[in-house]
């Protein structure tokens, strides 16, 4: 079974802090994704990566950056956290080709005070 893990389930940070969210998958998937999920807005794509060292902006990249130095790991960085980045963050991975099935981690609920 595909396993996608995220470094923290719950995180509380202060405004202005730099925040790192880590995601690791163990199935050698090429593609990885970061979403945020807010009530009434569904899942929105922040960034994705087709492969190592590659990254593409999603629908809402402002205030975020990403890093993919190794195939199994995709990091989401909040350079200077703000209260409007309080959200549930979900990482997913996908095998290139196939039927576009994405496998999600358990999520990180981030609160920015």
């Amino acid at each position: 079974d595909v396993k996608v893990t995220q470094s923290s389930r719950y995180l509380v940070k202060r405004t202005g802090e730099k925040v790192f969210l880590e995601c690791v998958q163990d199935m050698d998937h090429e593609n990885m994704f970061w979403y945020r999920q807010d009530p009434g807005l569904g899942l929105r794509l922040i960034y994705f990566s087709y492969d190592v060292k590659m990254k593409e902006k999603g629908d809402i990249p402002e205030g975020y950056s990403v890093s993919r130095e190794k195939k199994e790991r995709f990091s989401l960085i909040l350079e200077s956290a703000s209260t409007n980045q309080t959200s549930m963050y979900l990482c997913a991975s996908r095998l290139a080709g196939g039927y576009n099935e994405q496998f999600f981690g358990p999520g990180t609920r981030l609160t920015v005070l």
Binding site: V4, N31, Y35, G40, G42, L43, R44, L45, F48, Y50, G58, L90, C91, A92, R94, A96, Y99, N100, E101, Q102, F103, F104, G105, P106, G107, R109
Partner: protein
């Protein structure tokens, strides 16, 4: 642009009842996935349907892909409280991306 419409948006039923959730579009899909997301967790892939008219069963869940591959349904027989969650059928016609709508929020009361 959201190509897929899910209905209903909310559904609250008693344990033991049957229900059907729909996913409709004016576009043809090469495949379609259904996910379930329990409160506080990430979405979990339930099934992928590929062939028009295809029916797949997963215990009490029956998934159907429309003949024209423009719509899909999920039928749950004898719903249980453990079926409570958000059911999602994302639009996957944008290359490698999935576009998620609001889904159907199901609550099964004991």
């Amino acid at each position: 642009t959201q190509l897929l419409e899910q209905s209903p948006q909310f559904l609250s039923i008693q344990e033991g009842e049957n229900l059907t959730v729909y996913c409709n579009s004016s576009s043809v899909f090469s495949s379609l996935q259904w996910y379930r997301q329990e409160p506080g967790e990430g979405p979990v892939l339930l099934v992928t349907v590929v062939t028009g008219g295809e029916v797949k069963k997963l215990k009490r869940l029956t998934f159907q892909f429309g003949d024209a591959r423009k719509d899909s349904s999920l039928h749950i027989t004898a719903a249980q409280p453990g079926d409570t969650g958000l059911y999602l059928c994302p639009d996957n016609n944008a290359g490698n991306m999935l576009t998620f709508g609001g889904g159907t929020r199901l609550m099964v009361k004991p």
